[in-house]
Symmetry: C2
Amino acid sequence: MSGIECCNGLTMAESDLQTRARELLRAADGRITSARLAVLEVLLGSAAALSHHEIENAIAQRGRDVDRVTLYRVLDWLVERDLAHRIASEDRIWRFNAVDRVQAGDHAHFHCTRCGQIVCLDGPYSSAAPALPTGYQPERTEITIHGRCPGCAG
Amino acid sequence: MSGIECCNGLTMAESDLQTRARELLRAADGRITSARLAVLEVLLGSAAALSHHEIENAIAQRGRDVDRVTLYRVLDWLVERDLAHRIASEDRIWRFNAVDRVQAGDHAHFHCTRCGQIVCLDGPYSSAAPALPTGYQPERTEITIHGRCPGCAG
DNA sequence: TTAAAAGATGCAATCCAATTGCATCTATGG
DNA sequence: CCATAGATGCAATTGGATTGCATCTTTTAA
């Protein structure tokens, strides 16, 4: 959380997020609604993938309010348009992050086994998985590294 | 589904599963109950990881009956004792398979994007994931290969 | 062989993320 | 400014998983 106070009471960072979110939505060929702006701003402002509840709270903190169902639908829409990325994890909760600078294609994930946080790892990777039995046709490979994030490593 | 009819009306394969399941339970230092036997037999008889419902159905087909909650608890118990392996997937459903010949440690999974089936892949693997940002401590790496299984590849 | 106790089971109720139906509202093109 | 395709809010529902508690069963020891 950083940024310099700006004319409208928001930090520079927040103002930038608004602008960026609006740009992305405009380019996505769909209606620019307050719910979509709010959600996308939150996602753009977070390095970690966020759960539905975390997004809801972040929006509430900004003094805005989005219905739970709408949030789900906005997230679906963003994922459909490749503006967001949906991650499944072992706790059966979907997490989302903005597909901004994060590469749209294959990328690995880091999952903190203590706080549950999930972040996308930049850069390419390769894997030497065991040979597939006859008849299996691979399409994509998913890699998740489990461990401790910097905050939980101590 | 194969096997030769045996004296007790079960196929040889089923009889073998019963014996093997009983052995494993005995070695696990816990009570040998009919629910545990039934569940472990089913898991031992399947190459693919099975969902809760699939296990329930398989048990029912054998003319036995296990309460839903008991099934969950038996599965937890088997996982705790390293007799079974629990797999999370994108459909938010737990799947289980017996840890018999399947290596207990790290191994990759294959997920069929059409039928949803998940199987454990034998053998070791290595991955060249992107370098972790400073402060991240890796513990284990999980690899899932998504694609088509032999039955769905056509 | 049997009784006590440690542990497993069944049932009902509950939790919680996610989804669906439907009436209402609104962003956008004309 | 209007019409409307599309988005939203609310209530109800789904479905996998979990919890509390009374009852039953496996085991151990007498």
